[in-house]
Symmetry: C2
Subunit: 322 residues, 2 copies
């Protein structure tokens, strides 16, 4: 029996076939920028077909950005998916597009954390946070072996923990949130702001009319760009504060840091976050370890497959071959 | 069948007999300031005997300050209990002093939260934080109906969440922790510091050679004392930040605020904390409610009895009469 996992991102759709032991096949495409949810569902179905004929598929899992209703399989809000303003029943629509194959949906960060917990840097740990720093910042919270969703499905919003009261404006309208300091989108806004105010930075030169990717930050850092250094320093400090607070509250001994920015900046970035955190953490938690995610780009889709296996699992009666 | 619950505080020992419906009897005494753990155990046994003859007691629960090992029934550290520097097996010693009656031990804040969850302001809520602001600040974390202890038993240390990076020194050695702004002991240190530096305040006049109690803060506030106003403002702001962060991370829609300081300052204090929190909280949590604890002084001992019933429960074979 195998499962298909789809990582639905703001820029790409990444699908794998996973049989519990490893990845049997994978396929990718760009996320459509027009056409809203229906176009996205069509693109996901096309990526699944591009996996080639797959035997014994029991179901599909989708990890999607935004606020998810995992019971209904609905993406309620997805600010990072173009044209996705209203709640949309992804599970139902994708299932209909794929001969009724069962589909389960969860948050992208939750499934990424599930993958690290079962197969990655968190293997064997019953209590951990998976912190993913990309365009925004989110966390998956695993407590006593169970991923917490919370009554509204919004558990893990570490990006909206407050690291500086009254500080920088966050995309959500709040102030001083972690995401306003360590989310790629906020860092880009800040870099462009500083440049407009007369600071000299290669960040804007490297991303003139387009998105300031994590790769751009890595290049600017390597070039010794003062603004890039300052922004990364702020991000490290903010991540340290939020992680210290979260682990003090929850008594969680392991934090896994992943996502585009962390993956690109590498081990030294995660080690700096650990140092910043140790400076602030409650001394009673000397066992705390902060480590990089180990599954990289494929973590999300593998986690989506694992989530589907959990969710659909024994309920799956039909095995579909395409 | 009934249960005895003991709230072991830094200044007093408060015991109740609880039968699942209500409190049948209660007794109090001062916590001994000399003699260490053995004297405290003797005093607890004396308070239990002072409850009078009790029929059908199935066991005793103790809520104790500090770091607890609930499995071993050991108080590992208790900075607020005089002479309690080493781990001490409270469950074993108290049981031996009371004819082998089974004894279970947990953290005072955890049992206080349990009582509010089952019988107080959190009745019917599956997800809540119980935040207790007294000498220090701690929280009980109830997630999906279960009180979280965490792998080292230290879950709920909201007092050591960071509300201002690099801020005031906390008793634990960290900086900018909630407890350094909103814990009574830290507020007292700050008031005496400010007075030494030339600020005029009735706080020190009201507590010249003795502890600056929560009641002293209430009196100074009523007198319009500028230092008291400033300290309470700081406490409110710090509680707002920590609670906003905790609820964003955990998707918890209810926060119960209790403890000496909150109980004395009353509803208006809790409402101010709610306002401060709303200013900072992630907008996706519009349902968040922050309410005062409703069981007051007796919450800890009732919670200790509830905890004993959970823990010892069906395992209790003998019913002891004294």
């Amino acid at each position: 029996m195998s499962w298909i996992g789809i990582d639905l991102g703001g820029t790409k759709i990444y699908a794998v076939v996973f049989d519990g032991n490893g990845v049997l096949a994978e396929a990718k495409s760009k996320t459509p920028t027009q056409g809203g949810p229906l176009a996205v569902v069509d693109a996901m179905a096309a990526v699944v077909r591009a996996l080639g004929p797959v035997e014994d598929v029991a179901g599909i899992g989708v990890g999607a950005p935004g606020v998810i209703d995992p019971v209904e399989g609905t993406v309620r809000q997805a600010p990072n998916l173009p044209g996705w303003m209203e709640p949309f029943g992804v599970a139902e629509a994708l299932s209909a597009a794929l001969d009724g194959l069962p589909v389960a949906v969860d948050n992208d960060v939750n499934v990424g954390t599930l993958a690290e917990h079962r197969l990655g840097a968190g293997k064997g740990a019953d209590n951990l946070l998976g912190v993913f720093a990309g365009t925004g910042i989110g966390a998956g919270v695993v407590l006593d072996g169970v991923l917490r969703h919370g009554p509204t499905g919004a558990a893990g919003e570490i990006g909206h923990m407050i690291v500086r009261r009254g500080g920088r404006l966050c995309g959500c309208g709040g102030r001083g949130h972690l995401e306003a300091y360590a989310g790629r989108a906020a860092m880009e806004r800040r870099a462009r702001d500083l440049e407009r105010k007369g600071r000299d930075t290669v960040l804007v030169d490297l991303a003139p009319g387009r998105r300031m990717t994590s790769g751009v930050f890595v290049k600017a850092l390597a070039a010794g760009d003062a603004v890039a250094i300052e922004l990364i320093d702020d991000a490290v400090g903010a991540l340290g504060v939020a992680i210290a607070s979260a682990t003090s509250l929850l008594d969680v001994p392991l934090v896994i840091v992943g996502g585009g920015l962390a993956d690109r900046l590498g081990l030294s970035f995660v080690q700096r976050v650990e140092q910043a955190c140790r400076a602030d953490v409650f001394p009673r938690n000397p066992e705390l370890r902060i480590v990089p995610a180990s599954l990289g780009d494929r973590g999300g889709s593998i986690g989506a497959a694992l989530m589907a296996a959990d969710r659909i699992g024994v309920a799956a009666e039909k095995k579909v071959v395409r």
